[in-house]
Amino acid sequence: MRHKPATLFENTTTRCNRSLTLGRNLGARLETKKDMVGQMKILAVDDDEIILELLKEVVGAAGFPDITLVTSGAEALHTIKNSPTRFDCFLLDIQMPEMDGIELCHHIRKFPAYRSAPILMITAMADRQYIDRAFTAGASDYVTKPFDVLELGTRVNLAARLVQEHAAAEDKSFALEALRDQIETKNPVALSEEIRIDGVAGVIGKLAFENYLLQLTRGGLFGSCIVAFQVANISTIHAHSSGSDFSNTIIDIAEAISDNLRRSEFFLSYRGNGQFVAICHKVVMDTFNDLPGEISMSIRDMELVYDNGAKMDVQLVMGQPVKCGFFSSKNTLEPLYKAVDSAETAAQSLRRLPKNNGWSSKIDTIRNRLKHPSAKNVTKMEMGF
């Protein structure tokens, strides 16, 4: 098994508008653990002592008094290595001498204990290249200076809830491991769970993806495209897979999508329920036309099989790409939801097709056409739009 799902998000944050509204299930669960939030141990790194003092006061007022302040990346790493207890959250400046915050973020992610810890970049660097580098290095959120002190408190609260999600997920993992020893469960990974995907180019977590999109819209950095993919027969695949089998299938699909998106700058995220979403920059809309066929061919070339050796048929559809620039409202996830809805609609259409007119025959047709340059272009209708 190449990967093991370490992060289990179930009914995680429902992020409307400013991304701060938590799902009812999570909210209710968190209410009962409210006292734990105040115990979150934070490490803040900034070479400016006035900013550090400001962070200490703002974050303290938000209910997180346990904050350690350091002024450089080297000092941060030393503190992490020598801390008797684990930090729960990191606040990093980007522009620092010697080791910048992005490099520090990358180093922190190398510690197994901090693979999923929230890392908030708090920086005056508002250019997309810095935002992209930060999320690529593993940042969970990005706050630009000058910041609103109340909003910073809210964002740290959101990070605290993420910490609790991880804690709950770890508890659940232990319980599942124990159960697995006792009873034979077919698939302990829930269909809706976010599966951690490491080592696939451009892939970031679901929450990081949403924060990334929000950061772009906050800064008015439009001109990008969001496109969602849905595995139409994900329930069937899930029902016939073991936990690790299912996780590896999701990772393989992510790899196939990532490989075929490489012609543009992009981030990709798995949202659970067989749903992937990508944000692509500097891409011509027409290039999306052949994408679903190409990705499906990559998946088919992987010759995926179930644990019992039976052939796995993955029916992936792509929704209509949504241009972020079409939305005037800032600080919303509206384009994301529109893209996701489109992919779901495409998946529903595919499910309604008769079996003998199904996906495999479509792929064969498209494969043949791509092999023969004289053949006409693959149309959107054929790809399940």
């Binding site: 006061e57 007022a61 000058p146």
Partner: protein, 107 residues
């Protein structure tokens, strides 16, 4: 905002203002080098660093005009560093920033 945090923010704002004369002094020295045409790559980096810090702090602590001006000047300094040269407009920008810093000190 709770009163205790408000008081603390005022205190931090005071510290920021206290730090401005030193930043102003450095900016003036760098401005002189820009005017003389003796500004080195290290000096440009230092200029970027000072402007960046003012950009990050000023707006958060309520000095909006100073913060916005520093943000724009930071873009110009970055462009100059990338280009490997600077124009008289950059010198004028630093002069104006020094003016904004003095305004903040006097406020």
């Amino acid at each position: 905002m709770n009163p205790a945090l408000s008081d603390k923010l005022l205190e931090i704002r005071g510290k920021f203002v206290s730090s401005l004369p030193e930043r102003e002094e450095r900016l003036s020295a760098l401005h002189a080098k820009l005017t003389e045409g003796t500004c080195t790559a290290n000096d440009m980096d230092e200029l970027r660093f000072i402007v960046h810090k003012i950009h990050g702090l000023a707006g958060t602590l309520g000095f909006n005009a100073l913060g916005s001006f520093a943000a724009n000047l930071e873009t110009d300094v970055n462009a100059a560093i990338e280009k490997g040269g600077y124009s008289s407009a950059l010198c004028d920008g630093v002069t104006s920033l020094i003016g904004h810093v003095q305004d903040a000190i006097n406020t």
